[in-house]
Every structure is written in structure tokens, then in C-alpha cells.
């Protein structure tokens, strides 16, 4: 789904841009252009476009301030940016859970609808979407972060571990627990117990 952009744009990888921005801060703008839409999409799916607007701006400000400590061995900056964004999203945790519960309860998603498909004004969610929203609301934050970084950020387990600064084993166990809880709420038989 998500296009890996690390090697695109004339082979200038994210790490090179960040390194260049140490002496020439304006070079950092290219990092923004590469990734802001994707980070916004992730944040908007969690907390709505309005809050996501701020999260995106904050994410790149924080990233800019921390660029000196960026690990140059990681060419793709997406996990780093997703990690910062996830921390910022956490400040909206109560709102996020409230949105999800609203979907579960009313079947109407309170998040703003897409402009392009304005005909689908509100998601009048069917039963399984309501159950899914309920399940997502019921996850603890660490589990939800891992699940959504995998599902929406399209990050690998290692990248999620980098993003959240936790061991990869923790990523596996959180994801497995999140999926198990989802299956339980969605009413699917628990065919395989986690690994």
C-alpha cells in the first residue's frame, strides 16, 4: 500500500536529507514534502483531520529539533516520523476513544467525511464496523499503537519497534494480543492461538 520512498527522488534517501539539514536547515523541507500527507492520513484516521493538522505540523517540528540524534543507519525516516506522530496522537487519547465509542454506539462516525466522496456523508456503520470500533476503543494504548502502525502505517515489525522504541518481541506480543481481542469482539472463532 504505502510506497517506500526511501530510495526515490534521485536516490537521496531520508537519512541524507536529514544529514544535509544539519548544515542547511532548509533541506528539511523536502522531508516534509515526502511524508506529510502520509503522516496526516494516519493521524486523521485516529483522531480526525482537525487534530491531525496540528499533529502533522508538530511532528515535523519535533523531528526538526531532534534531527541531530537521528540514526543515519536508517535510510527511511518513516518509522521515526510515525513514532513521533504516535506520541503526539496519544495526547488525544480520550478523544480517540470517544470517537470510536460513538461509532460503536450510534453507527455514525463523528470524524469529518472525505471531501472527494462527500456523497457518503457519514459512515453509518454496519454491525461489524461498530463491533470493530468497540474493540479498538477497548484496547490499551500500547496495543492499539502497534496494531494501527502495522495496519495503517504499513510498517514492518522492526519498523514499529524502531518507531515506538520498544523491543521487537514487545511488538509481536502486543500485536498478537490486539488481534486476539479483536477476534473475540468480532465474534470469529479463535482458530490459532498466538505465537
Amino acid at each position: 500500500m504505502a510506497v517506500r520512498r526511501a530510495g526515490s527522488a534521485g536516490d537521496v534517501v531520508d537519512a541524507d536529507l536529514i544529514a544535509a539539514s544539519l548544515s542547511d536547515p532548509d533541506r528539511f523541507a523536502a522531508l516534509f514534502e515526502r511524508h506529510h500527507a502520509e503522516i496526516h492520513r494516519y493521524a486523521a484516521r485516529r483522531i480526525g483531520t482537525d487534530a491531525a493538522d496540528d499533529v502533522v505540523a508538530e511532528t515535523f517540528l519535533v523531528a526538526f529539533r531532534r534531527r541531530r540524534v537521528y540514526d543515519p543507519a536508517r535510510p527511511d525516516a518513516r518509522p521515526w516520523l510515525y513514532g513521533i506522530a504516535t506520541t503526539l496522537v496519544a495526547r488525544h487519547r480520550r478523544a480517540e476513544v470517544r470517537h470510536l465509542r460513538a461509532v460503536a454506539r450510534t453507527g455514525v462516525d463523528p470524524l469529518p467525511e472525505p471531501m472527494a466522496e462527500r456523497v457518503v456523508r457519514r459512515v453509518a456503520a454496519q454491525e461489524h464496523e461498530r463491533a470493530l470500533a468497540r474493540a479498538l476503543a477497548g484496547l490499551n494504548r500500547g496495543d492499539r499503537d502497534v496494531l494501527l502502525l502495522v495496519a495503517w502505517g504499513d510498517l514492518s515489525y522492526q519498523e514499529v519497534a524502531d518507531a515506538l522504541d520498544v523491543p521487537i518481541g514487545t511488538v509481536r506480543s502486543r500485536l498478537s494480543r490486539a488481534r486476539r481481542k479483536l477476534r473475540a469482539v468480532l465474534g470469529a472463532p479463535e482458530e490459532n492461538t498466538h505465537g
Partner: protein
């Protein structure tokens, strides 16, 4: 059922970042890169919702007034509608007046290829309670009455016709709800329109039960038949150009929907006041269809909690961060949906606006 696939599809159609927001983010980044003052603007977003509380209190006051008038049964309580409630006669009377007003004007026929224009405004809730300070988004849409062609203003500020997406929301396929062509040839009398509305409601409910639809236009397919009929009428009025005589017939349809009442006054997303038809759902959310007191033309819609709502603990077996000490609450008067349709009409083609 693959839970990862469901998660991946959930909110898949979230809007992209707006040009203004991206510009603002760039500006802040440039300022940071340029300036020595590196500590500014770190947390303006934290307090965006603060003003809402006071506004909500004002709305509660308004609602209290509305509820004291029009009397009768408690809204939202099932099974307490003896015979024909007062509201039904009231609704029918308003529909008759609307029809009289409509017949005083010209009867411009709308054919399948007729281009129509709708400008509508929503207050975005962003999960918070909506108030007059909530972000307002206005969208202009041009479409042919049969729904086969559609245009809107692109990011470049110019009007572009959209390519039809097979099975997409702008198509006239079975998934388009209500069908864009719903109004073509629709009767202009309440009884006839009622038949059409309930037939479409039944189609939507059946598709929901068969699992053929997930996301539909402002209508909860799992609601009761009467709720679906009301929401369908509300959606048609909100999203389409509706000729005056058909509009009066849609109002007349509401007289046949049990539980519909008339509120003496409500207010749309642009602050315009007028009476409203209303129906309260099982979650104590009142759905309102607001119209102009003099012309009877549709103004907008609102969704509002009519009593305090307190979140219940999650179902057994669901671990959550539900805090029994501090459950999520919606206060009576909390607005969770707010729209307005300031302009709509027949036009010569895409890019043209009604005079």
C-alpha cells in the same frame, strides 16, 4: 473474518490534508528552521475545544425551551404513540402550507440530464461537541439529476468534472443510497412520495441485512424502518436540489412517520433559525430537519442529544480503559452533527451558480 483486513478498511476514506493546513505546517517548519526562537507554538492545539463548553450550555437552554413546547409524549420512548399524535397533524399542516407556497412559484421540471447545483456547509465535529466555533466546511457540487455526471471545485480552485467511479459513491449503482435519481419522476403528493420513500427505505434495510452495504449516505441501515425513512428524507433534502413541490411532498411524507414532531425553533449550521421536523433515535439523539418559517424551504439539519448520555461499561469480556469513575458523557444539548444548505438550484452546467 480477517480482523487485520477490517482494520485496514476502517476509515479508509479519511480526507487528505487541506492546502491551508499544509501551508500552515510548512510555515511553522520554516520559522523553526530560520529563527533562533525555537520554543514557540509548541502546543496551541491543546486548547482548541475549550470554548465548546460554554456554547453547549447555551444550546441546552435553547433545547429546554423547545422541549417545553409541542408537548405530548416523551421523544424517544418507544411504544407511547396513541393513535395519531398531535405532531402528525402539525406535520401534515406544515406540508400543506409548503405545497401552497410551492405552487405559487414556477414548476421547473427536472429531467435526468438537468444540471443541478448544491452548496452545503457542515460543522465538523472532530469527535468533540459541535458549537458555533467548530470548523466550518463548505462544499459546492454540480451533478446531473440522474447522478451520472458530477463536478466539484478542485484544489486549484477550478471546477472539474469527476470521472465516474464504478460502484463508487457517485455512481447510480445499487450501492448509491439514496439513488441520485431518487427524485426524478417522484410524486409531488405526500401519499405517493411516502410510497417511494418507504420503498427506498426497505431496499436500504434489505441490503444492510444481506451485508451488501457497509457505508451509506447518512442513513443507518440497521435502524428501524421509520428511522430509516426519516433519515432518508433528511439526506435527500441535505444533499440534493429538491424542487419546491417535491420538497413539500417530502415534508408530507413525514406526517406518516410515527414519532415525528415539530419543534418551534432550531438553528442550522449557518445560524439561520427556523422550525424543524424531528425524530429521536434510540440513543437519545434527536435528528432535525430545519426549514424556513416563511418560505418553508429547507435550511439544514442537526443531531443533538436530548438528555444526558453516560457511557455504559463495555460488554463482559471486553477489556477497556473504561473508567467507572469517569465515564464518557454527552451532556443534554450536545450537538454531534450540524449542516446547512444555503444554495441549491437548476443551472446551465458545471461551474454555473444559481442567480
Amino acid at each position: 473474518m480477517d480482523e487485520m483486513r477490517l482494520v485496514a478498511e476502517f476509515r479508509d476514506e479519511v480526507p487528505a490534508i487541506g492546502a491551508d493546513a499544509a501551508r500552515e505546517a510548512r510555515r511553522r517548519l520554516r520559522a523553526e528552521a530560520a529563527g533562533p526562537s525555537r520554543r514557540r507554538e509548541t502546543r496551541p492545539w491543546l486548547w482548541r475545544g475549550v470554548a465548546v463548553a460554554g456554547l453547549t450550555a447555551a444550546l441546552v437552554a435553547g433545547v429546554t425551551v423547545a422541549q417545553n413546547v409541542g408537548g405530548g409524549h416523551e421523544p424517544g420512548r418507544p411504544g407511547v404513540l396513541p393513535g395519531l399524535p398531535v405532531a402528525q397533524a402539525e406535520v401534515a399542516q406544515i406540508a400543506r402550507r409548503a405545497r401552497t407556497a410551492a405552487e405559487a412559484g414556477p414548476d421547473a421540471p427536472v429531467t435526468p440530464g438537468t444540471w443541478t447545483y448544491v452548496k452545503d456547509t457542515i460543522r465538523e465535529s472532530d469527535g468533540k461537541v459541535i458549537g458555533p466555533g467548530s470548523k466550518r466546511t463548505t462544499v459546492e457540487t454540480w451533478y446531473t439529476a440522474d447522478g451520472t455526471r458530477r463536478a466539484r471545485v478542485g484544489d486549484d480552485g477550478r471546477v472539474h468534472e469527476q470521472r465516474p467511479v464504478p460502484g463508487g459513491p457517485i455512481s447510480d449503482g445499487p450501492g448509491a443510497l439514496p439513488k441520485p435519481a431518487f427524485l426524478i419522476g417522484a410524486p409531488a403528493d405526500p401519499a405517493g412520495m411516502r410510497e417511494r420513500v418507504y420503498a427506498e427505505a426497505d431496499r436500504i434495510i434489505a441490503m444492510g441485512r444481506r451485508g451488501e452495504i457497509r457505508s451509506i449516505t447518512g442513513v443507518d441501515a440497521s435502524a428501524s424502518r421509520d428511522q430509516v425513512a426519516f433519515q432518508l428524507v433528511a439526506q435527500v433534502l441535505r444533499a440534493h436540489y429538491v424542487p419546491p413541490r417535491q420538497e413539500a411532498a417530502l415534508y408530507g411524507t413525514l406526517a406518516y412517520v410515527p414519532g415525528v414532531r415539530v419543534l418551534p425553533e432550531s438553528v442550522d449550521a449557518l445560524g439561520r433559525r427556523g422550525p424543524a421536523f424531528s425524530l429521536t433515535d434510540g440513543q437519545s439523539i434527536r435528528h432535525e430537519i430545519i426549514f424556513d418559517r416563511a418560505s418553508y424551504r429547507y435550511l439544514g439539519g442537526r443531531h443533538i442529544f436530548i438528555r444526558d448520555y453516560v457511557e455504559r461499561p463495555p460488554a463482559p469480556g471486553v477489556e477497556g480503559d473504561h473508567d467507572p469513575e469517569r465515564p464518557v458523557r454527552y451532556a443534554k444539548g450536545a450537538v454531534v452533527g450540524w449542516t446547512a444548505k444555503p444554495v441549491s438550484g437548476v443551472v446551465a452546467g458545471p461551474g454555473e451558480r444559481p442567480k
